[in-house]
Each structure stands twice: as C-alpha cells, then as structure tokens.
Symmetry: D3
Subunit: 134 residues, 6 copies
C-alpha cells in the first residue's frame, strides 16, 4: 500500500463562537478567536490517498482527477470566503480546525471511495489537525 | 552597519474594495479578494532594524525592547482583527499588503528613530511586500 | 477520531556521551556530538493529541490548556537550558533526540490521560524522532 | 517503540511515459510530465526507522550507519542522474514518485532488516508519497 | 517606494557543460552537474517589482497582470522543460542559476519597464542567485 | 552584477554575558540567554557573493571553491562547538548573532576579496542578522 499526498492552500475568514453560551463564556474559551468581526488564516490542506500503484501509470491516483476533486470540493467553496457566513456546512457548526477538517473529509470521501483518505489541515504553522474515519 | 531582523506572525481578516468604484470594477480589479464577507491570512512580518553594534551588549537593539514595540504597535492592534472594520488606519485605506506594510512602518518608525527601519510583510507564501522610507 | 497537533520550539545545549565508555569509543560512536563543551539546537516539538471533538466547542482539547501544559512541562524546564547539566531527567540518561522525546512523552502523558499522545521532536531539519506508548 | 527520521535531498531528471501507449494517451494522462526531453526535481527523502532505544547509546540506530546506507543506496545512484536513462531499476518502470519510493524502500529494507522502515518522498512541495511494506 | 514580491515555482532539467572544454575540464569544474543525461530542480522564482502605491487600488502593480506576465515569460516556456534542449535562450548559454536568472530578468523587464525589477532564483534550498540591472 | 547565495547550517552552544556587569544586570539585559550552562542553536548562514558572471562557466564563483572556504572558515571551527569556550574570536566578545555574523564576515572576506560579501545569519526562525562592510 502506498499513500499519496497533495498539498493545496486557501485563505478564509472565521470566528469561533458558541451561540448557546454567554459572551463571557465564549471569550473565556475561545479568547481572541471569538473576535466579533472575524479574523483569518492561510489554511494548508494535505489530502492523503492510500491505495495500490496502478501498473500502467505508476500512479495510485490520476493526479489531474485529484486536483479537480480538490478544486470543486475545497478551493471553490472555501477559498477567499468566510466560513461562518458563506459556507453552508458551518451555519450551525463552529469552524474550528477540527470541524473544518471533518467537513473536508466528508466532502472528499464520496469521490474517493476506493481509497483510504486522511486529511491534515494546518491553520497556522503551530496549529494543525488530522481527520479520518477510514 | 548591521541589520537585525525579527519575525512575528499575526492572523487577520480583510477585504479589498474601492468604495468609489462600481461592484463590477471592484470584482474586475480585486477578484476573489473583493469577497464581501472578508477572508483572511496568517501574516508574517519581518522588521529589519539597521544600526551599529553596542559594544557593551553585542546587540544592535535590545531585543526585549523591540519585542515590546512590536507587541504594542502590531500584535495588539492587528492580531485576530478585521483590518476593514476594527483598525482605524484602514477606515479609508484599502488593506492591501502594500498599505498594511506602510501603516506598520509608520507606526514603528517613531519608536525606532535612531535606526533605519524596513518592514517586509508576507501575506501568503507567494505574495509579499517590502516598505521603507529610510 | 481526530488528532490535534501543536508546535512549539525551544533552544537547548547538550552533549552525547556514555560515561562508561572510553573517550575513543565515545568519539567513534557520537562523533562531533561528543564535543566536550556542548553544542546546541533549536528543537521543534510537535505534540499530537488524539481524541473526539467536543460538540460544544468544536475542539478536541482546549488549546489554552494544552499551551499551559506544554509551557510547564517543556518550555520552562528545557528552554535555554543545558540538558546534561540543568535537567534532572538527564543526569544519568544520554540526551539523544530519542531520549528527549521519551522524557517529554512521559512528562506530558499524565496530564493528558484521556488522550492518545504522540510527540515528534525535530533536532535539526534533517534529524527527527517520534515517540509514543499509546 | 520509537521512530527515527532522517532527511536527505537529491536532484534528478525524469519523464513519465508508458511506452505501450500512444503519444496522445501519454499526453492525456501524464500532461507536462510526459515532456520528451525530461524535466527534474529537488527530491526530498525522509527515511523513518522504527525500533527500540539502545540503552548504551540512546540511539535507535547508529546515525553514521544510516547515513552511509542512504549514501550508498540513494545518493550515489540517484543524485544528479536521469531516472529513465541512468538508473537500471527504471529501465522498464515509470519513475513516478510512487515507484521511486517503492524502489528506495526495496533498496533500503535489506540493509535495515531489524527495523520497520517507511519512506516518504517529496517530489515538490505539493506532491509527496509514503511507502512501506512493513 | 515599495517592493512587491511574487513567488512561483517550476520544474526543469538541465546540465552544466562548456562545449569548448574537454570532458576532463567539464567534470573538474561542474562535477555532478555535468552528468550527461541531465538532472533537474524545483526552481523557485521570486520576482520583485519596485514602484509607488497606486492610491486607487492600494497596489504597486495589478497582481493579475503580474501573474499573466510570469505565466507567459517563465512558466509556459520553462516549466517541465529541459533548459539545454528545449529553451532557445540556452542553445549557446550554460544554464547555471546565474544565467537562468539573467535570462528571466531580460524577458520580464520589457514588460515591466515602469518598475525596478529584481529576480531571485532558488535552484535548491542551499543555492540561489539574485539578478538585476536596475 | 549578480549575487550568489549559499546556505549552510551548523549547531553550536553559547551564552550571552558581559563579565563587567553584575549578574543582576546580565539577567535584566540578556534574560534566559544568560543561562549559566549555555544553550544552543541550529544556526543557518547565508553567504552572498556579488560579482560578474564568468562567461566560460556561467558562474559568479566556482561553487566548489566557495564550499571549501565555508567549510574551513565556518563549519570546521564553529560546528558542534561552544562559542564562549571553544572559539578564540569570542574569548572577549559576546557571541550575539550580530557579533557572530561580524566574525564570519571578517573570516570570509580576505578569501573573497574580489567580491562584495554579505552574510546573513539566522539564530532561530524569528531572529536573524545581516552584516557587511562592503
């Protein structure tokens, strides 16, 4: 088995907030990430696809196909957007790195069913998460 | 003469827009950066200070002093903020990397008058600017 | 299950040496790392914590709690120190990257008992280790 | 158990091509990577070796031994070479990152039999693969 | 005055050779870089453009224009090519990093006449050059 | 004119201290960097050499010559050493990044007299200096 990784980047705004909590509790838990007018990140996404090497191509997956899937499922809906206001998946979901990675996994997996899929998302150079259900 | 550089990072949201233009023109010039609900970046700031080596310390500048200046002038007012909505300097100034670098230079220089100061701001790994009037 | 990673850096001096060996054998095995007056590194530590997403916060772990644990267990005792002379855990333990990672794991784990914990330590850009018992 | 990683780099030329296919199909599948006069990469190889810490050295593996193995099996045969024309393993094997990682694993493993071995190969900052049979 | 930098990457093969020299002299001077079947690199190009901030846009240069110039002058002719065999400018010019940077500068400058232009080319993480005539 | 840069790394221990000061003043000025048993860094050195392109080689400087100079003047005397105890230039000179860069410049310049030389030294990813007298 071989894993293939593809790195992409996108830029987005977000705010961490639990609408069921008081502002005091939101500030205590989320600190500056609860800043009301949003802040943002250069997100880096590594998508790892595990499978077998196709003997005809030497590829685990056709890279042009993987690029197209990442473009449609991640770059177009998320890049230069506000997670809280522009992305339907986060209408009722706090856009932490954990939840963004989970949403990305759930969007990518149906298009990569024959592979084991792992997503690693870097929010900053110091904070990152990895998500899979495979 | 010796230059000393100090790197810090901060995260902020912004939107590029000229309120005197039609939405069509804003989209044509700023593209996705004109997205109405903001997007954001992990900004990396390098501040370069040029001076002479103090023979008693071996420093060009006391690093704890430089750290404090950067904290007060850059990190506290900009980190986890929205440039367009939260930062007074951009009430009537488009928060491009060029203008953010210029504002940072103008905030830092009065506190570093005895030095030549250059600021380099990375908006992404692919886009960066350098500003000085010295 | 989701893994959350947090990167910190610290600077320390060390020397590799087995006091039960002759100086010839120490030099043969440890080379320049046996240099008697110590050398040092900018260590980079990634701490990975695996758990489930708390639906109220969207976090696997409260980041301010993880930061505090890393500060108390790693930064305060190790940063700007000499592993051989200043850190009790290495009084009789050679401070290789492997052993430093093991000691860090053993200091962090009791404070993160509900999580699977993995530590990855970069000694240089070319040498790194990963340690877990989970 | 502890994993130790060692990073090396090498530069090589290659071309992706299936000689059993028409030129049209090669171009459709491999795109620019099928360019007839070759292109090249700065490959970065991480070799991960998993074992137990030797209590006498504090090492999982003697680093000078690992360096020598990597020099003989990877750097000397691959660095500044053309995978398609100069490296016998690729005489009838397409030099994709997947296949290069597999060949490296198969060359390293017999010299590291007592360890679990994983190789990770970065072809560019955006494309990378990981291979193991352990 | 403000400088704006834009980073792009491209992959290419090359070989260093002076056809007026004996093979012995070529090997003595260029070492492994004279390997006959070419090797290659992930080149990273930073293009720095110095000018004044346009008060209407906040930009020194319209980024979409700069991207298009870099695409036409650098990416399309150089990416996934062999400098020695595929790029006319190197038919009689040794494709060292110095000469590649010079050729890139001379291709970019006529399209950026109103700006001071500097190009910095990274051949590897350890070797890089900077070229300008401005 | 063209500038050529070469990056090397070395690891060393140091301590910042002015022996003419009280321990209180040393701690006030140098903080943790005054830690008595030393700490250390992975130093990264960029050496920039400015000259003209030799038309026979396409090089500004023969890289094997530059590598040899860096090995003799920097790597051999500094790598895996303690600046305060092992390096004669710092017997009476505080080994700040500024002073290390100055010493490196003064060691390299006599061997690179026909070139303009600039050295940039990274002590950490956040602290760096640049030194030249040319």
């Amino acid at each position: 088995m071989v894993k293939v990784g593809r790195r992409i980047t996108f830029n987005a705004a977000h705010r961490l907030n639990n609408p069921n909590w008081s502002e005091e509790k939101n500030t205590a838990v989320f600190g500056k990430c609860n800043s009301p007018n949003y802040h943002g990140h250069n997100y880096t996404l590594e998508t790892w696809v595990e499978g077998v090497i196709n003997p005809e191509t030497g590829y685990v997956i056709d890279l042009s196909e993987l690029k197209q899937i990442l473009k449609e499922e991640v770059e177009e809906p998320f890049d230069h957007r506000n997670f809280n206001l522009d992305v339907p998946e986060f209408a009722n979901l706090n856009p932490t790195a954990e939840n963004i990675a989970k949403v990305i996994y759930e969007k990518l997996k149906p298009r990569l069913m024959q592979f084991k899929v792992v997503v690693r998302l870097y929010e900053t150079e110091n904070n990152f998460v990895e998500y899979t259900k495979d």
